[in-house]
């Protein structure tokens, strides 16, 4: 159950991995349980921090759907971490830009702080051994191939 150094304290809590939210779930703001990546040991995890008010996120969702479909069999797991203060806003976004990948909620920013998110959106690629291998800040349509190359590199491990 390898985690990168800063998550060791975290791992001690040993709580079950976050809920998988259905795209049409409604409800008041909530934050999931601390994220336990041990469930994804051996897989490449992409943690993508997004919010309903973030316009580049509208362009990243179709691309992430493509990536999940293309590389899911190779062990890619994309987890979208929603940062909206109100989950209702996230639901409205997901109604227009459906996600074929896991969505978890971090309205209090705990997970974002942990990962030191400095831009919206932000994507963190966590390798099969649980160590963070790359991140990209923002989402640029022109850099899609570059992002995909980083995924392939991580999946090749």
């Amino acid at each position: 159950m390898a985690m990168f150094g800063s998550l060791r304290l975290f791992a001690k809590r040993l709580l079950i991995t976050a809920l998988v939210a259905l795209p049409f779930a409604f409800g008041t703001a909530r934050a999931d349980e601390p994220l336990d990546l041990s469930a994804y040991d051996g897989k490449v995890v992409v943690l993508d921090f997004w919010a309903s008010w973030c316009v580049p996120c509208r362009r990243s969702f179709p691309w992430m759907n493509d990536m999940q479909a293309k590389y899911g069999a190779d062990g890619l797991v994309i987890i979208g971490v929603n940062m909206d203060a109100e989950a209702g806003d996230a639901s409205k976004f997901l109604a227009d830009f459906p996600a074929n990948f896991k969505i978890i909620y971090d309205s209090d920013g705990e997970l974002a702080r942990q990962y030191d998110v400095v831009a919206m959106p932000s994507s963190y690629i966590i390798g099969r051994d649980g160590k963070q291998v790359a991140r990209h800040l923002g989402f640029k349509v022109k850099k899609q191939d570059e992002y995909e190359a980083l995924l392939r590199e991580a999946l090749a491990q």
Partner: protein, 76 residues
């Protein structure tokens, strides 16, 4: 002369604010939902601002001075 001294002081204040004073102020990148709203942009209605600027430029001795950008969602 006194006016120019005031201007100089204001400029120095601006420089200090931008270089040092602000590293502790602000919000996290994911806390910009309100700031991303159209009505919270520093110039929310550019056409109206341009129209007003033209009216007041024709009737008064001052013009311009106002803004540009910052704030907003800070995405990408």
């Amino acid at each position: 002369m006194k006016k120019l001294i005031m201007i100089r002081r204001a400029l120095i204040a601006m420089l200090l604010i931008s270089l040092a004073g602000c590293s502790s102020m602000g919000v996290e990148p994911w806390e910009r939902d309100v700031l991303a709203k159209d009505e919270m942009q520093l110039i929310a209605d550019p056409l109206e601002v341009a129209i007003d600027e033209h009216i007041y430029f024709s009737k008064e001795a001052s013009s311009g001075g106002r803004g540009f950008g910052g704030g907003g969602c800070g995405c990408n």
